[in-house]
């Protein structure tokens, strides 16, 4: 099971946090900080797995992460998940974001948090993987965009809201 999905930038600013187990708001923030601390001090080009921090369950859980330009994508998972599988899942997530936002960058995540959550929801639900097929995910996301646009048309909106 995926326990949490965290995205933060090189300075540790959270850009997305999604917890699939219940923690208090305070603990969630601490987990983000702890995870950033663990991940950010690691060199580039070493392995993408490490044991989870104490707050999120210590060695029972693994952190699997990828570092893209300014952003870290970290999945915290338990032992029932395949490490390489999750690594690919991160890749699928990022490629999907890239397609949906056309060259995704940190700013897209900041200004369209709801969309990022939506796309993620098409892939992962309650900590389990719902769909891994990128074109299916994109189709769903586009369908939602269309619905959104049709609704804003009711208000005669001439500008495209991305």
């Amino acid at each position: 099971m995926i326990k949490a999905i965290l995205i933060f930038n090189n300075h540790g600013k959270p850009r997305l946090s999604k917890f699939y187990e219940h923690y208090t708001e305070d603990t969630e923030q601490q987990i983000i900080r702890e995870t950033f601390h663990l991940v950010s001090k690691r060199d580039e080009n070493i392995c993408n797995f490490l044991e989870g921090g104490l707050l999120i369950g210590g060695s029972e859980n693994k952190l699997i992460y990828r570092h893209y330009a300014t952003l870290y994508f970290v999945f915290c998972v338990d032992s029932s998940e395949s490490e390489l599988g999750i690594l690919d899942l991160i890749q699928v997530f990022v490629e999907t974001l890239d397609k949906c936002f056309e060259n995704v960058c940190e700013l897209d995540l900041i200004f369209h948090m709801d969309k990022v959550h939506n796309i993620l929801a098409e892939m992962v639900m309650g900590g389990m993987v719902l769909e891994t097929n990128m074109s299916e995910i994109i189709t769903q996301a586009e369908a939602h965009n269309k619905m959104e646009k049709s609704e804003t048309f009711i208000f005669q909106c001439p500008r495209q809201d991305r």
Binding site: P14, E25, M113, T132
Partner: protein
């Protein structure tokens, strides 16, 4: 143009986010956020009703503020209102807010549940998915209660859209994880399993997570999934890379689903059906073969996906542990990965090999990679990988390579990362003990360990070296010589002083013949460290000194001088002062004979589980180490702890070495060393009471009165009891199973007990009678503490006496009419306790009847309209009051479940009866 500004709308949000990003300081950011929070609060509280769009905007802002780490304590109501909007955008934001900021406010949950109910019945797949997502995200008990019945229907209905099916499967999984008792799969089981055959791969992907979880919990009911999973896997594995279209990921067909199928199969033993098994072996072979083929793409994603499947296949092969051919191939494959340029693969290969090392078919093959692994430990840049390498060295260690591995681990310790030092120390200590052929090597290793990483050597480690030195007279002289030498170093670790003090105090005489280590030299050496040590160490040293007086009368005056000095006899620390005073007095007034008796050499410690191993298990959690240990035990037979035999001979019969390998096998015997202020007493205190052991015994007595309560190698305790009204009498029979007598045998109990014979001859039995009176209702059973001496060692064990509230039942016969009338009278919620549980034993009517009669209540026939059900009535007699109780047990043979309901006039009684009984069926 208001419409435009509205459409552009989320501009308000964008502006706010930009503002925040432009803040130069944390304070400015907080100020801006507080301003916004105040603004939103006033908008929400304002008189003017907000339209859906504004609500959406504000809720979005709150989400953003929450992400920045600020508490949000309002807005939930507005979010809930958005749920009932007809617009997708508004509904979606509402659900998003609820999912991110779950609030267990029950009033709110009721409203949310209402909205979800509407959306689930809307037949709009988008809305249904949003609602299912919300349930899966919140997953609270109230939601499970409301929807656990509905979701399986959605999941298997023929007309449900694929995307909704996917969401329903995972939603159900979530509810099953949070409230398994509410999700009753019974009738759905086979239709859920058949989702593995679904045409839509997405549905299979989602369903397999659900099926895996359910299979882990109810393997028998779901075992039909094995053949379906094998055929699905075989279709994927043998398909060309283009067959699965979108589910092909960088030329690999459906890697995620393949991994999950292989995981599902790991819930079961190898398939019994030959055809299914053959097909599966074929799949595994294909996967191993494909790993050798040249890659279809240079992209890392291609090799990742391919190897993800490969690693899962290897895990399955290891799990089956029955195909030597596949195991060796798996090992070779991992061996290639050990030297792969991808760090991830090296990491995973080390990890998989750890489990492979515990298989007898592949242990030898794993061992051939020792040089590579040692090299990894030395040269890997990444601490995660080095740690896996250390784990693997530990796992592959056996008698043939122990010296090499221990030496490498010791040398690695000098530079090891701080985070893993303690664990490394424990591992070295365990390996050194387990594979010690000659004990001088063992002593050297542990002393080296203390020298190199003294700070990380926990108490268990140095306790253990002392236990072993004391139990093995062939190593005592060497140990004394070695610690003496080690203490010569100008700066040595305090743990070294402890070991040194203890060992010289016991065995200093063995090296006293050499003038370079004469008694006085030994004493002066120890005492030179005294002032640098902490209080517990000094206390230990004082004990060593008094032992010196016994060993070497010539040191008496010097030591008395030391004890008499103000810094000892007036020490501000009570413990030190007391020891100084008592030892001084003891040495001056006791005759040499008395002194020799009091300060006699420590008796051997009882053989038991290594305290270090217990600690490592605690550190790593169960599983990680224990499986390995047990495997090792099987292979190696009696080791260091192997009871009577010394050293090398490993062809042993079942020896007490079982104790080394897990508390499970060992009886809950606690021993304490009888020595003047020996610190070693602490070592044993943790063994204490073996909870699991006596609990199960205890629960067997709920429905019966006679039997064997406890048994280990030494002692058997039988029990016979009778009860009338609120009184009971219990006969305890203590049987000595050994040929040696138990002396100073005492029992203490918190109920009235006649004293027991203090001496039990070998092979004899003594009896003790306990009279019991039930004053009021209770849930904790009385504890019986038993102490006795067997040989030199003090044995101590604590047992729960099987006295339970139901023993004081008086059966009450009544007619159906009366029963239901009384049942209705006891209708306050707290008077009822209910449990739904799985059957642990066969659901045989006669056995059930016998158990219910044994409970002490009257079993009422022809009362319940359903003849399958059982109802009972009885009154519990206590001195304070009588408690009437009614019971109803409803077996469900199909689901192999029971529902047990107890109503009684006192809430604590209902609860306790329910707890006691739920373990019985």
């Amino acid at each position: 143009m208001p419409a435009v500004s509205k459409g552009d709308g989320m501009r308000g949000l964008a502006v706010f986010i930009s503002d925040i990003r432009n803040c130069k300081s944390k304070e400015a950011e907080i100020k801006r956020i507080n301003k916004e929070l105040a603004n939103i609060r006033s908008k929400f509280k304002g008189d003017k009703a907000l339209d859906g769009y504004s609500k959406k905007k504000y809720v979005c802002k709150l989400l953003f503020i929450f992400l920045l780490g600020h508490d949000i304590d309002f807005g939930h109501m507005e979010a809930v209102n958005l749920l009932s909007s007809n617009k997708y955008t508004e509904k979606q934001i509402g659900y998003l807010f609820i999912s991110v900021l779950v609030n267990s406010n029950s009033e709110l949950i009721r409203l949310i549940n209402n909205a979800i109910k509407n959306d689930l019945s809307s037949r709009n797949p988008t809305f249904m998915c949003l609602a299912l997502h919300c349930i899966a995200n919140v997953g609270s008990r109230e939601m499970a209660e409301a929807f656990a019945g509905e979701i399986p229907r959605i999941l298997v209905a023929g007309d449900t859209m694929d995307s909704v099916k996917q969401s329903a499967a995972l939603c159900l999984l979530r509810l099953y994880k949070t409230s398994p008792d509410l999700v009753l799969m019974g009738e759905w089981t086979s239709r859920v399993v058949h989702l593995l055959n679904d045409q839509h791969m997405g549905v299979v992907t989602a369903a397999i997570s659900l099926i895996t979880c359910l299979s882990q919990k109810n393997p028998d009911e779901f075992k039909t999934c094995v053949s379906l999973a094998v055929s699905r896997l075989s279709r994927i594995v043998s398909s060309a890379s283009t067959d699965l279209q979108d589910y092909t990921y960088y030329f690999v067909p459906a890697p995620w689903l393949s991994c999950k199928l292989l995981r599902l199969l790991q819930c079961y033993p190898p398939p019994e059906d030959g055809a299914v098994k053959g097909r599966l072996v074929e799949c595994l072979e294909t996967i191993l073969n494909k790993a050798q083929e040249p890659p279809k793409s240079k992209k890392v994603q291609h090799s990742n996906a391919k190897n993800a499947i490969l690693f899962e296949a290897i895990s399955l092969i290891i799990h089956y542990d029955s195909e030597p051919n596949l195991l060796v191939r798996a090992c070779n494959q991992l061996g290639q990965f050990l030297q792969h340029r991808e760090t991830n693969l090296r990491y995973l290969a080390l990890e998989s090999m750890c489990t492979l090392a515990s298989s007898e078919f592949s242990h030898e093959a794993v061992k051939t990679h020792i040089e590579t692994v040692i090299n990894a430990l030395k040269t890997e840049r990444d601490v995660s990988v080095r740690q896996r390498a250390a784990d693997l060295l530990y796992a592959m260690c056996d008698r043939s390579n122990a010296k090499q591995i221990v030496a490498e681990m010791l040398s690695y310790l000098e530079t090891a990362d701080y985070s893993i030092r303690e664990e490394m120390v424990l591992k070295v200590a365990i390996l050194a003990e387990k594979y010690a052929v000659d004990y001088s090597w063992y002593v050297d290793t542990i002393l080296n360990l203390i020298r190199i990483a003294g700070d990380y050597v926990s108490e268990e480690v140095w306790y253990r070296v002392i236990q072993i030195v004391i139990n093995r007279d062939d190593v005592q002289g060497y140990a004394a010589k070695t610690v003496f030498e080690a203490l010569q170093a100008p700066a040595c670790h305090e743990n070294m002083v402890k070991v040194g003090g203890y060992i010289l105090g016991e065995f200093g005489n063995l090296i006293a013949g050499d003038p370079r280590s004469s008694p006085l030299v030994q004493f002066n050496l120890l005492h030179s460290k005294f002032h640098l040590c902490s209080v517990p160490t000094r206390a230990l040293l004082l004990s060593a000194y008094i032992k010196f007086i016994n060993l070497f009368p010539e040191t008496k005056s010097t030591i008395q001088e030391v004890l008499r000095s103000d810094s000892q006899i007036r020490n501000s620390d009570v413990e030190l002062q007391q020891r100084a005073v008592e030892y001084l007095k003891l040495s001056s007034i006791a005759s040499t004979d008395v002194l020799a008796t009091v300060l006699e050499e420590m008796p051997p410690f009882p053989e038991r589980e290594s305290s270090i191993l217990a600690k490592l298990k605690k550190k790593k959690g169960p599983g990680a180490v224990s499986v390995n240990e047990l495997e090792e035990g099987k292979r190696e037979g009696g080791e260091l702890n192997g009871g009577g035999e010394r050293g090398g001979d490993s062809s042993s019969t079942p020896s007490p070495s079982a104790d080394l390998l897990g508390l499970r096998a060992g009886p809950p015997v606690t021993a304490a060393a009888p020595s003047a202020g020996s610190l070693l007493v602490d070592v044993f205190s943790e063994a204490g009471v073996n909870d699991d052991g006596f609990l199960s015994e205890f629960s067997r007595f709920v429905c019966k009165n006679n039997g064997v309560l406890f048994e280990n190698q030494l002692l058997q305790i039988g029990i016979k009891s009778e009860y009338r009204q609120n009184l009971g009498r219990m006969y305890l029979f203590y049987g000595n199973k050994t040929s040696v007598q138990f002396v100073t045998f005492t029992t203490t109990l918190n109920v009235q007990a006649k004293p027991v014979e203090p001496l039990i001859e070998g092979g004899a039995q003594v009896q003790q009678v306990i009279n019991i009176e039930c004053l009021t209702d209770f849930s904790d059973a009385p504890l019986l503490n038993i102490k006795f001496r067997y040989g030199g060692a003090l044995q101590n064990l604590t047992l729960k006496l099987p006295v339970t509230i139901n023993k004081f039942f008086q059966p009450t016969e009544m007619a159906s009419h009366d029963f239901f009338q009384r049942w209705k009278q006891l209708s306050l919620p707290q008077q009822e306790a209910q449990k739904i549980f799985k059957a642990n034993h066969a659901m045989d009517t006669e056995v059930l009847k016998a158990k219910l009669l044994g409970l002490g209540m009257a079993l009422l026939e022809n009362v319940d309209p359903n003849p399958e059900n059982f109802v009972c009535a009885g009154v519990i007699q206590t001195k304070a009051q009588q408690v009437g109780s009614l019971l109803r047990l409803e077996p469900n043979a199909q689901a192999q479940m029971y529902r047990l309901t107890v109503r009684s006039s006192k809430d604590t009684v209902s609860k306790r009866l329910c707890e006691l009984l739920a373990e019985q069926f």
